[in-house]
């Protein structure tokens, strides 16, 4: 039932936000510390567990994927209800901050690509195509594990709903 999915999502959100509040209180900060992030982790683990147990029929799933699909429209509504008129003077900050962030991140790509390189031949000494599935396969040592993990990784990529951020 659709409501089961919505209820699961709602439960994760409530527990996560509550945990964030408690964490804030414990740390003596008057704010919600990472509540949304905690809720996301909860949903990843609970959802993953239920998927593995085959307890997530498509109708239940649709209760969650609907809200997933509403993500960008809700962000648009959020943008449309902010105090942009008061922020417009600060537009330069926004542009500059993003420029610096993107520039620095771009510069880090080659550095990080190099960083991992020496490690790669250690796990797979035979040169092979660099697909993620092959990588997973080469890393898993036991044969039975390999099959299971590869198939689950494949499945999850198809199952994952597409959303833009």
């Amino acid at each position: 039932m659709v409501i089961y999915g919505v209820a699961l999502l709602a439960g994760c959100m409530l527990v996560g936000l509550w945990a964030g509040d408690v964490l804030g209180m414990l740390l003596g900060v008057e704010s919600n510390i990472g509540g949304v992030g905690i809720a996301m982790l909860l949903l990843i683990f609970l959802g993953g567990y239920l998927i593995d147990k085959q307890k997530m029929p498509p109708s239940t799933e649709s209760g969650i994927t609907f809200w997933n699909g509403m993500y960008i429209p809700i962000v648009v509504a959020m943008a449309a209800s902010q105090n942009v008129a008061a922020a417009i003077d600060g537009g330069l900050i926004a542009l500059l901050a993003s420029l610096v962030a993107v520039g620095a991140s771009f510069a880090l790509v080659p550095a990080l690509t190099r960083l991992g390189r020496p490690e790669a031949p250690a796990t797979a000494d035979v040169p092979q195509s660099d697909t993620p599935v092959n990588k997973v396969a080469s890393r898993a040592t036991s044969a039975s594990k390999t099959n299971k993990r590869t198939s689950s990784a494949k499945r999850s990529r198809h199952a994952r709903p597409h959303h833009a951020r």
């Binding site: 990472g34 990843i44 959802g47 209800s81 922020a87 900050i93 901050a97």
Partner: protein, 253 residues
């Protein structure tokens, strides 16, 4: 007759907001496909339209809630308010598997953390340079530079004002658009031509729409690899920005 329509729109404000946002999204995706050839993702244009509407609403009413101050569009405040926003964001985590991050390996994980921290620090530093000293505003602007969604999440949970949150959305939006536009130009220089570097790239940039559109314009085969790591980015940002990073900013400023 027209008056009764207006009354209905005001009464069913949330439903009116759904219709309005739907129409805005349709136009935005049309503009993306026809005018930018898909180079700038429809979602980015839609958010830009949202910010423009908020500006219009702000200058006509003098209020502080953008277009939602016009009673006809009051539903936008509910639709884009904290409750539904958090619900929708949490929903995006469904179906994410931690096995996927294993495929990216250690450098993928480092890329994710480094990506969040570097963008955050860049945002905080620029905000500081422009005279912001309040840790709440600094954190919100830094979080917005991470992605346009982490900014409002962090801002709402630590109590930032709406204009700072609006600015943080703008910062994230600019980042997303810059990634879309600059990726094809910089791809060769940063060695973005294989799945491995695409996964690192996705982890560092994080904006899924930016990464997907940017990689699509570079080499469509790389899109799933970049998107795979980018999926984790917003979640990590939502976890780190209002917690560890906020506490760091508070400790420093």
């Amino acid at each position: 007759m027209l008056e009764s329509l207006m009354t209905q729109l005001e009464k069913q404000h949330l439903i009116a907001a759904f219709a309005l946002v739907g129409a805005a999204m349709y136009v935005s995706y049309l503009v993306s496909a026809k005018l930018t050839n898909g180079r700038v993702h429809g979602s980015a244009i839609a958010i830009m339209v949202g910010l423009a509407l908020a500006y219009f609403g702000g200058i006509t009413t003098g209020g502080s809630k953008g277009l939602a101050d016009i009673s006809l569009f009051a539903g936008l405040g509910l639709m884009g308010g904290g409750m539904l926003r958090d619900l929708a964001i949490i929903a995006t985590a469904y179906g994410v598997r931690f096995q996927e991050i294993r495929q990216a390996g250690l450098s993928g994980v480092i890329a994710l953390f480094l990506g969040v921290v570097v963008s955050f620090v860049a945002g905080v530093a620029v905000a500081f340079a422009f005279g912001y000293r309040d840790p709440v505003a600094l954190t919100t602007l830094g979080a917005g530079t991470v992605t346009y969604i982490v900014g409002p999440i962090a801002g709402a949970s630590i109590g930032a004002s709406s204009d700072v949150i609006a600015l943080s959305i703008a910062a994230g939006l600019f980042k997303s658009i810059l990634v879309m536009v600059l990726t094809p130009m910089a791809a060769k220089r940063i060695g973005l031509d294989n799945p491995r570097s695409a996964m690192i790239f996705g982890g560092l940039m994080g904006t899924t729409s930016g990464v997907a559109a940017g990689l699509a314009a570079t080499d469509p085969k790389l899109v799933p690899y970049g998107a795979m790591t980018a999926t984790f980015y917003t979640g990590l940002g939502a976890l780190l920005a209002p917690s560890v990073l906020y506490l760091c900013v508070r400790a420093i400023f």
